[in-house]
Symmetry: C2
Subunit: 189 residues, 2 copies
DNA sequence: CGCGACGTTGATTTGCCTCAACGATTGTGG
DNA sequence: CCACAATCGTTGAGGCAAATCAACGTCGCG
């Protein structure tokens, strides 16, 4: 499955596929596990084979803010910490029992050496993620909460049943209370 | 200068450097030129040798929102449009007379073939940009306008004199009027 | 069962926006 | 070189979206 994900952008030989898998660890986590804590250095990138995770951070006022959800086929990490080697600000939490492929930073570097094509793969992945973040940034600057919620529904239709409403509120950038009222108001139409 | 920028992350041979430069165009634009229009397909990535540019988009209510500034040594583009080949939403405007190195998408693809190390370079570049965008996103969700302005001042001290105040207001996500009042209030302390 | 997390609803407050009017500055054409 | 327009920044009055605080019902789970 992770190999399919890679095959969308680059072509690996059978040997390269095996090498890649040899440098990753398959792990199963139950719901509510936290696999990355703020204040610690992040050492892995995670690919979600099945299940659902989220990354979030907690600000000075002890309010959680959801940075991202990761469903099947998505990658998730604390990229700042992973790249800089500094303690990060993000928590990564498992929302449903999940099977993930963990790729350690050192293994990633080794793989870049052994299979230079992977540079291309992760470049493309990162580019797409950057575009998505740019769009979300602009949306936060120029759309109302209702419009952002509409977009969220279209983009992540499956998530709406799965994740607690307060986390969706946090993702789109409003309080749970306001979100509840907004939703009620939208239903009335 | 652009070669120095590349040398920060990867090492090119003399021949590779020449090849790279051969696939780029050096251009000088006067202030107020617009080198990329929303609604058109973006074909280039630009590296700023000297001067200052910005990218912004205009929403349904005909309000400008600044996505990014690009000073000396920075790259700028409409990445969504460049990657997708679809008409973009961004304008890229030259704020001061600038010397830029334009890298066409086709040339970039050729260079990836000829100098695979460049995949690594642009991967790293994109990763750093992604981390910065993630931080800005979180800041917009959890900081007040004053705090965002403080961060902006620390991050871009040189810009404050150079760019019109309304563009800084737009970057941090408030109206020019509110920004003006906020600034006055902050000075009073 | 009973606790704790979640969602809802209401009253009140506030950060920021909108609209409007007004100087200051820039720049541009006659 | 001046006159006038255009753009920019400032300030004030009023309004609205969203936050805060608090109370309460509900549900899932240990």
């Amino acid at each position: 499955m992770i190999l399919e994900n890679i095959a969308r952008h680059i072509t690996l030989t059978r040997a390269e596929q095996d090498l890649f898998l040899a440098h990753t660890q398959r792990q199963i986590y139950p719901a509510k596990s936290v696999i990355q804590y703020a204040g610690t250095v992040c050492k892995h990138t995670y690919f979600v084979q099945s299940g659902l995770l989220r990354s979030f951070y907690i600000n000075d006022h002890i309010v959680e803010h959801v940075l991202s959800f990761a469903c099947e086929g998505w990658w998730i990490s604390d990229m700042y910490s992973l790249l800089s080697g500094q303690p990060g600000n993000l928590f990564i939490e498992v929302l449903e029992e999940s099977e993930v492929i963990a790729l350690a930073k050192e293994d990633q570097e080794i793989l870049y050496q052994e299979i230079p094509k992977l540079e291309r793969f992760f470049r493309i992945l990162t580019e797409n993620s950057l575009v998505a973040h740019q769009e979300r940034l602009m949306d936060n600057l120029s759309l109302t909460a209702e419009e952002r919620f509409d977009k969220f529904c279209k983009k992540y239709p499956t998530l709406i049943q799965k994740v607690p409403q307060k986390q969706i509120a946090s993702y789109i950038g409003v309080t749970p209370e306001f979100f509840s009222k907004m939703k009620a108001k939208m239903l009335r139409k």
